[in-house]
């Protein structure tokens, strides 16, 4: 299926091998993703992402990433970093993007450029407690993909559709998730 002439920088053979291995070993397929967030000041926070659990053991990637969040001046904040809501939209776009590249590789489609723009509607009457009928989160989220690839328009649409079908973050956002919050006094 995959075309050796196509290079989107995705190792499809490895992914397919992993899929086969994980199907045979369901325990190894159980992953835990983590992020730890520390308050800085005001609405400014810094999250650190280091280890995860998967393939049956702790995975120390030997480095850590940092993502900061804050709110803009319109919220009387210092605007040190994007808002958490924007980071959520970013997670959706990045997840779909990774999927598009992987599926394109698998289907033998060379990508030349791909750009996704995400926009989410939010009525602040929700988070500000003005109207209990209004939800805190996004109303509608619109994702717009611009794809330059060596494929027909329908094949490109199918790439993006398949990416949504297999996206973890798309699933998190479109379907409910149980969230458990534990608190302890330091």
């Amino acid at each position: 299926m995959s075309d050796t002439q196509v290079n989107n920088g995705v190792n499809v053979e490895h992914l397919l091998g992993a899929r086969e291995a994980l199907e045979a070993q369901p325990v190894a397929a159980q992953f835990k993703w983590r992020s730890s967030c520390e308050w800085v000041n005001g609405t400014h926070s810094r999250s650190t992402i280091t280890s995860f659990h998967g393939l049956g053991e702790e995975q120390d990637r030997g480095k850590s990433f940092s993502i900061e969040a804050d709110h803009p001046e319109a919220f009387a904040a210092e605007d040190n970093a994007p808002t958490p809501a924007e980071i959520a939209l970013t997670g959706l776009a990045s997840c779909l993007m990774g999927g598009v590249a992987s599926i394109a590789q698998h289907r033998g489609i060379q990508l030349n450029s791909v750009k996704a723009t995400v926009e989410g509607d939010m009525d602040l009457a929700g988070i500000l407690g003005i109207d209990d009928e209004v939800r805190n989160g996004f109303g509608t989220i619109r994702v717009s993909f611009d794809v330059d690839a060596d494929a027909s328009e329908d094949d490109i649409k199918a790439l993006v559709a398949q990416s949504q079908k297999r996206s973890a973050v798309f699933d998190c956002i479109t379907n409910p998730t149980n969230v458990e919050v534990a608190v302890k006094k330091a």
Partner: protein
């Protein structure tokens, strides 16, 4: 204890096809049937159901539709008569009202325990169907107690439902057919839609099944499919065998007043949640349908049919509500009944033998199981895409009969 060479479990069209092939090979066998011939079709289907395949496509070994409406779709009484006639014509050795309670390995064969005595046989063919237990999602058990819940196995017609709204979960063949007749009965339907396979009933003047058969799509062998495990999980085509041969899809249901929402994904007290993925599952279905129609058009051109059949056309893209429903408060009383049209599982709880993977799914290679001497027919994409159609039984049964006959003769045959 009764003895034979092969026990076939189930006397539906698949079991009878295996029986015919074994009879041709002079293999001594019996069909153990929990009810009467064609039992599931008699007792587990709704009143208005018709086959999704045209009559001419109802072909079994040494048998085919003989009526005067080859392009029509059989209703249940007609189908039961069709299968009954087949069993009688070839005097299939059916032992009715015999419920298999256990199949277990025993030396070089199997013991088949039933409520009518036990059988011993070198070989066993499982032909008990793949639609024995309705696959109802876990969240069904969290639904408020005052909401009635029904599965297609026990649904017969709209009159058995309370007046008021009906939520149908699932928009494959069953879900869309039930949505149509329940909406028409005056009960407003909300159709929760996950992934589905959309096709036109008639394309370029011919039945979609004619095209799929002629172009070799139905007959594509399982070992030539890109991902057979996935192919075996694909839901049934969103089809109906309506008298006027019109297409039944989400657009025609929307026109009839049915509300379309995403798949049911959660319930919290009285609040139901629907997935926000409706737009994508509809895009996937539209794109996949157009790929199928492109394949058909290419085949038609290669085979000189252009000009002899109607010109190609495409269906209108699925119309998705601008802002699909994400929530429903059941306490409002709008919905009185939920129908779980979310598919079926096979019931093989009586099979006390190896042959399942760690997830409990039956493992077979084109119907040949391991341990030796155990076979299965009638499963999705057993050997070809048509394995679950009546027309697919002949090929699968013939292969199983070949393998089984060699096995009895002490030969090992490649699958």
């Amino acid at each position: 204890m009764n003895k034979t060479d092969a026990v076939i479990i189930g006397a539906g069209h698949c079991g009878l096809a295996v029986s015919r092939h074994l009879a041709q090979r002079s293999v001594d066998h019996v069909l153990l049937e929990r009810g009467e011939v064609a039992n599931s079709w008699r007792t587990e289907r709704w009143d208005s159901l018709t086959l999704l395949t045209p009559n001419w496509l109802s072909r079994l070994p040494d048998y085919a539709y003989e009526g005067d409406d080859p392009d029509g779709y059989m209703n249940m009484p007609q189908l039961i008569r069709f299968i009954e006639t087949y069993a009688l014509r070839y005097s299939a050795p059916v032992q009715p009202r015999t419920n298999v309670t256990e199949v277990a390995p025993d030396g070089d064969g199997y013991v088949v325990a039933t409520n009518q005595g036990d059988w011993r046989a070198r070989t066993v063919v499982i032909a008990s169907g793949h639609c024995n237990i309705p696959a109802v999602p876990k969240i069904a058990s969290d639904m408020p107690a005052d909401i009635a819940m029904v599965t297609p196995m026990h649904y017969r017609n709209p009159d058995q439902l309370a007046e008021g709204g009906v939520l149908i979960a699932g928009a494959s063949a069953t879900g869309v057919q039930l949505a149509k007749e329940i909406q028409a009965s005056g009960r407003p339907v909300l159709l929760a839609t996950g992934e589905h396979v959309r096709v036109p009933r008639i394309y370029r003047g011919k039945d979609i099944k004619w095209w799929m058969d002629a172009a070799g799509i139905l007959g594509l062998p399982y070992n030539e499919v890109d991902d057979i495990r996935r192919a075996r999980r694909v839901p049934s085509l969103q089809l109906a065998g309506l008298k006027d041969k019109t297409t039944l899809d989400l657009n025609t249901l929307t026109d009839a007043g049915v509300e379309i929402a995403g798949r049911v994904v959660g319930v919290n007290g009285n609040r139901l949640a629907f997935s926000g993925s409706l737009g994508n599952v509809c895009s996937l279905a539209d794109l996949k349908m157009n790929r199928l129609l492109n394949t058909i058009d290419e085949w038609a051109t290669e085979n000189g049919l252009d000009g002899k059949v109607d010109p190609p056309h495409r269906l209108e893209a699925t119309r998705v509500p601008k802002i699909p429903r994400l929530e429903l408060d059941l306490a409002e009383g709008r919905i009185k009944t939920i129908i779980w049209a979310t598919g079926y599982h096979a019931d093989l709880s009586w099979l006390k033998a190896p042959g399942f993977d760690p997830r409990g799914r039956l493992v077979h290679d084109g119907g040949v199981m391991n341990p030796p001497g155990l076979y299965v027919v009638g499963m999705p994409y057993l050997r070809t895409r048509k394995s679950t159609l009546i027309d697919g039984a002949d090929l699968d049964a013939g292969m199983v009969a070949d393998h089984l006959t060699s096995y009895l003769a002490g030969q090992v045959m490649a699958v």
